[in-house]
Symmetry: D3
Subunit: 137 residues, 6 copies
């Protein structure tokens, strides 16, 4: 049997503002448009975590998705759900919270704690129409 | 031919904080939980506007949905999309932005401008799991 | 036990052109915009048929949904799926195929053949954002 | 301000077999088809609970959806999720688990525990294509 | 022109119980939790079959999706839809029906019968939140 | 930081007829079935454009999705939305509008205009159940 890719999807609601502190407010407006509204806006994000590996013969699992669910909650969701991503999240401190940057940060939060199989990809949906994927390379 | 109900759905992204200024921060926390995070959080909202009437024989339309789309943009979406609902929106000033209150405010914004058929309902989705409907009565 | 409303959803793909033969092409353009493109355009429609009644004690069914599925196929879907709604459909002959008019025509096609419970509503989605409902009154 | 209808949607996974013990296996096959497979089959059900009322001025809530969520979990979801609806659920004992019958049973489980506003409807999706609604009358 | 990947999605409803016969009931409970409920539970599964190849000049098809649909029905869907995956399915006999194991079994059922292009991947959704992908290597 | 894949999804409604002019009408019927209905049929298509690259340190963007949105509109959507794909679209002239062929044509329309990052894939959904992906190789 070859590699199977197992996915766990979860949801969180957060606010953010795209903003580069090296630029003026006008330059931020020019660059980020409505996404740089000073008082912020927000999204219902969906995150999909994919772990790749060969299922264990005894369990038929690459990794118990309950473990993925727990790591995802402890290391990511509980820190971002119902938060302001610009000011409330330690691992996003000093980072402009674009979808790209949040996905990479999520990878770094989760990757060391996946101890069966290997973290293969993180997909992050900001809306149904805008989303990103990161594979750590 | 009887009454036909025509629906137009649209999307906006906004942030908010549930907060009653008559209460202390601790009381707000107790009442609203994570929804009262001081720095806010946000959602991808979907709004569904329903207009009821009898289709005109010539056009087959209750109302041209392009007109509904325009009223919805001018009177509601352009004022709330990529905004903070607590501080950026004139027609929500002094209103705790629960899904219920936003839906009623949307009704009041839109209803006078529906001049063919009658506004029948506003449905507002905060998430896939939490949503409200208002019919003006 | 009171009334239960049972729903069956189905899908069809069709093309159409909004067009009023009493008007010039320019007037049709003015009224219907891109929807009046002379060579047509198309949609993946979803239709939801709702039958209301009291479940039979023996079966727990208002009506066997397999019967609804069959009526819906025989009287509607098989006549519109992979068709041009302006020229291929007998029961739409001479009718401008707006979502409103298609929904009313679907009601008339289906209603006499629902022999357990009563047809309560027809909902027709032209897109995720534009849809109508008809209740026969 | 008029009545607002607030909705909470939730998910459960369960197995069932449609079966009338007053009939033979062949008669059950005839009546229920594949849904009467002796070893059962299953679904990812979605339930939508709607409570109607006038939002309280202080909170902007018809009812705190966290309370609806709790009642729904305690009285319904925890009893049906990851269960066999024919044999594992006390409040479905002796009831043929059609979507109609499950929705009515859910109403009876939940209705007495909604103490703000009034339970207005229960909608139960067996699949995206088959679903029912019950309003208690 | 390069390789195009064509996808066909389909649905089935089935019940299952995660269970390792080499373990006691308590050990199965410990390992699989509610998924090991002795009387089973169930899901609305979605399967996505992907075939890769270069479209034929004459038809513009990698493979006629009607053929994929037929193979998928004959070799997989008709054997699992409205069934109990632990006891009703020959090709799952002796296999713990985790999403991983079902996806691999689906690959083995389907792969030899894809005679235009090559089977590239099977994706299997147990729920919207839990799913797997297998590529045969 | 490694490569991030950013996606933009968009929608268009179009009609088409699968038809090979080298064949007779009967042969087209045999090959394409209902998809070769002489008067056409139609779909709500969704297209997903993926651009791969390393996010810029200053912006946190691989490419500003507003630019992707603009290229997608100018080079593709404005030419196909509310059109007949057999007769109204210059870049599909002489091409049988299968999902495969439309996706490859979309790649060719868009690829030269993606000037930050590289176009990585085009996914085109004809329906929820039938879709294709093209990666340019």
């Amino acid at each position: 049997m070859g590699t199977v890719y197992v996915y766990r999807r979860a949801h969180f609601s957060a606010s953010h503002r795209l903003f580069d502190p090296a630029l003026t407010n006008d330059q931020n407006d020019e660059l980020f448009g409505g996404c740089s509204n000073p008082n912020g806006h927000g999204h219902n994000y969906f995150i999909e975590v994919c772990v790749a590996g060969i299922p264990a013969a005894a369990t038929g699992f690459v990794i118990d998705l309950k473990k993925v669910k727990q790591v995802l909650a402890d290391r990511f969701l509980n820190k971002v759900d119902h938060k302001n991503l610009n000011v409330d999240v330690d691992f996003l401190s000093g980072i402009n919270p674009t979808t790209e940057n949040i996905a990479v940060a999520a990878w770094n939060q989760i990757e060391p704690f996946i101890t069966e199989g290997k973290l293969y990809s993180i997909r992050l949906y900001e809306t149904e129409n805008n989303f990103v994927e990161y594979k750590g390379v």
